[in-house]
Each structure stands twice: as C-alpha cells, then as structure tokens.
C-alpha cells in the first residue's frame, strides 16, 4: 500500500484549493444524443431538464445526423470494432488511407496523416519535425494542445502579441538566424472567435523564409466559401505548410484528428510522431462516419450556409439587445461580462431559463475578460435562437448590464 494518508492529503489539499478558487470542473450528464435540444442531469442526481445547447462544437449539426450514424453502423459491420494495433504494425485499414486522401483533397494539401485526436496531432507534430536549431513562433492565444506540443519539442519558442503582424515581423527578424522558423496560429481562436490574418502571415513567412502551421479545429467544414477552413477564407489555399484539425467538432464530432500539409512533413510524422507511433489510430466505426461527413460536405454547402446565417442572426440579436460581444465572422460568439462571478451567476440563471451556455474566466481567458461563450450550430433553428435570445435579455436585465459599456459593467461588478 503506497497510497499513504500523507499522499492522500496532498491531493485533498490541492482539490480544496481548486474548489476554493471557484474553478472546480463538474460534468453535466446528457441523457440524449448531441443536438440543439438536449436532456441534461445537473447537478448529479437532479431531475432531467430539457435545454437548448448553446455551447457545443457541433457547428454543422452532424454529430447525430442519420446518414453519418448509418455509415458508422455499416463501417462497424464491414471493418469491425477495433484494430488492436498501432498503424505501422497491423493497425491500418484501406479506409484509414481513404480518409487521409479525402482530407488531403478537401483541404487542398499534399498529404495527410491521422491521429487519435487533434490534441495528439499537436502533441506530435513539432517534435517530429523540429530540433534545437529551430524556432517556433506562436500567437499568444493558441490552444493549450499547441502549447503542450511545443513543450515536448526541443526547438526554441517565442510568441507574438495576438494577431499583431508588426510584432510577428519583429520576431521573425529577431530569430532570422535559426535553421527552420515555424509560425504557429489557430485558424479561428476558440475563446474569442476571431479569424487569424493568414494572408498577411503567409506574406511575412515568404519574406522571412518561415513555415506556417494553422490549427483549424474550429474552422474545418464551415469557414470559407465552401467550408475548407480559414485558408480558404483568407484565400491562401496551397500556401499553408501544415494544417492540424479535428474530427471531434464540426466534422461529425466523435474524435480523431490529423496533420495535413507538405508531403515530407507528413512523412516525418509517420516516422517520428510519438502519438502516431505509440497509440492506435481512429477506430473503423469513426473512420466510416467521417468519410460520410466529407461526402455530405462535398455534395453541398447548405449546412455551412445555414450556420453562417444563424451566426449572423445571433450576433445581430445580441448587439441590438445591448450586450457587448467579441466581433468576428465565426459561430463562436463570446458575450463579455468581464467579472468572473457574474459569468458564473449568469450561466446558472440561463440554465434555469432552459439555455445551456458556460461562463469562462481566468485562467482560461485573460484576467478581467470573463464571458459566456456561445457557439452556434446549423442544427439550431431560428426558434432555438429566439428562445435563447429571450433568456439572455431576461438575465441581462436582471443584472442591469444591457447597454452598458465595459467600464460601466466593471464599475458595477468589478474585474
């Protein structure tokens, strides 16, 4: 027995600290499939409540789409449940390669390699291609998985101010002597919903002989005219050296991710990326589902068009009601409340009104930038959004924040 009371106390103290800081995370049990309307048990043991989901990454409403579910069933029947092997021993089926080719075609890249998740793709890609002679220069608001991936890599790292191209240029000049320079950004930033200035970044990378990596997890399938992602939106398809993305959000929402880009970089990942080498890849049932998702997206832009309309409706409604939102062109719409406690109270009141939306505060977002992050889906109908807006206005009135400026809300509730 090595789990002594001393060790137990260490963990109990840490857990108390997390609770006292008000950042203890609790799961809410959903008793239905993922959709705009869900049935939730929260807190644990409470009666099940029907609510409108305003916080999922189910951007295209494909998580429970009948055609995707049917394709997954067929995949399960024809290729089985598991592979019981990593890719390079006996864990690669024809459909794994078929999916890699389909992603390559969809994103307009040279080749693709699947990973168990985009977290794993980001954890593996840097170490696979860079050494201590190289530099990674990342936007200061990149996703946590990129930060973890950079930590696992021996290359040096530096950052530039969020979306600040002058600062990026200074950093490219500062590190001009490095063997490989890799600029790293999210395509759509998950907490703010803004889109990276990829056209300007590509120009800077060309000027300073640098490569660029974009994590398009919150973009693939719906950003850009045909939903290819932020590189399509910024008109730089073919100019992004590395795209990492996930199948766990818009693209069916199950799990899995990939690195897509230059052929040699993908080959390096097949030789050296540890999450690829030492873990099974996506199960056949998920591969079959994602293949169907790409068929649906290639046949029509109907779903991304609906999402775009829904997001525009939602942004307009919140603006007209007097909320402060982070402006942008994505379906991630943060409603700014600035004060951490207010964001939690607001979220609870919304839940009582039948609206499921989560409040975020430091350290997930910068200090004094607490917010409710709303995420719009093609699975939402206008009546969902009308009901959600009604609830936001009711709760907004309760706290007296409608029409107030940032300074006025901070004066009322503090940072």
């Amino acid at each position: 027995m090595s789990y002594s009371s001393k060790v137990k106390d260490i963990f109990r103290t840490q857990l108390s600290e997390i609770r006292n800081a008000g950042i203890y995370k609790e799961e809410r049990f959903i008793h239905s499939s993922q959709a705009a309307d869900i049935e939730v048990e929260f807190p644990s043991g409470a009666a099940i409540k029907k609510v409108i989901n305003m916080c999922s990454n189910n951007y295209l409403g494909l998580s429970s789409h009948p055609e995707v579910v049917r394709a997954a069933h067929e995949g399960l029947e024809s290729r089985g449940y598991g592979m019981s092997s990593v890719r390079f021993i006996c864990g690669t089926q024809d459909i794994h390669r078929e999916l890699e080719n389909k992603v390559t075609e969809f994103l307009g890249t040279e080749d693709t390699i699947l990973f168990p998740s985009c977290m794993d793709a980001n954890a593996g890609v840097f170490e696979a291609i860079l050494t201590s002679e190289d530099i990674m220069i990342s936007d200061r608001l990149v996703h946590a998985s990129i930060i973890d991936g950079m930590r696992l890599c021996s290359a040096q790292h530096d950052t530039f101010k969020h979306s600040n191209m002058e600062h990026l240029e200074e950093k490219l000049q500062l590190h001009a002597d490095k063997r490989i320079k890799l600029v790293i950004t999210d395509g759509v930033f998950s907490m703010d919903g803004d889109i990276a200035r990829l056209d300007e970044m590509v120009n800077l990378c060309e000027k300073y002989d640098a490569m660029i990596l974009v994590d398009d997890s919150h973009s693939s399938g719906f950003i850009g005219r045909t939903g290819r992602g932020t590189h399509e939106y910024c008109n730089v398809v073919g100019n992004i050296d590395i795209i990492t993305t996930t199948f766990g959000k818009a693209l069916g929402g199950a799990s899995g991710g990939c690195v897509s880009g230059r052929k040699e970089i993908v080959q390096m990942c097949r030789q050296r990326a540890r999450p690829y080498l030492f873990s099974n890849t996506i199960s056949p049932v998920i591969v079959a589902g994602v293949l169907k998702v790409f068929d649906i997206l290639s046949a029509s832009t109907e779903r991304r068009d609906k999402l775009e309309k829904n997001a525009a409706w939602w942004r307009k409604g919140l603006n007209e009601a007097g909320f402060i939102i982070k402006e942008g062109n994505s379906p991630i719409v943060p409603v700014m409340l600035f004060n951490a406690k207010l964001s939690q109270d607001f979220s609870k009141d919304l839940y009582n009104e039948g609206i499921y939306a989560i409040g975020f505060f430091f350290p997930v977002v910068p200090n004094g930038q607490a917010r409710i992050r709303t995420q719009i889906s093609a699975g939402h109908e206008i009546q969902h959004l009308e009901k959600a807006l009604e609830a936001f206005i009711k709760v907004g009135k309760k706290y007296g924040i409608l029409g107030l400026s940032r300074e006025e809300i901070i004066a009322k509730y503090g940072m």
Binding site: R140, M150, Q156, D158, T159, K171, L174, F362, P366, N367
Partner: protein, 81 residues
Amino acid sequence: MEDIKELVRSYIVKEYLEEDEEITFDTPLISSGYVDSFSMVSLLVFLENKFKIKIPPSKATPEAFDSVNKIVELVNQYINK
C-alpha cells in the same frame, strides 16, 4: 540602478502588455499571467543584448523573472561579474 529598472519595465510594457495595462516594479509578471513562460525567451534575449551579459538557462527561471525588481536583481549579478 533606477535606469536599469526603468529600461526593463518599459521593455516589458512594450513587449507584453496591452495598451490599457500598467505595471509597477513589484507586479508579479508570470504568476499573474502578464508574461507566459514561452514569451520569456524575448526578455532573456533583450537582457543579454542590452546589458552585454550571459544568463545561464538554469538561472532564467519563471521565479527569477516574476517582477521587474527580481529581474534587475538577476541582471545585477551578471553585470558586476
């Protein structure tokens, strides 16, 4: 001494802070989220170039970089060598 402090402070304000943010010589930089550990590399390069010193990686810790006063204390150890 005051010159060094002000030089370091103004570099940090320019490099890491948003327009409406200010810091004192004692403001915690890393533990309060103004500077993340990755961004420290710029600060290190700035200090080494500006003061013509070499700070060993083992001394360039988040703790040693956590306020202007602490950074100046560290810099002084190497300036005087």
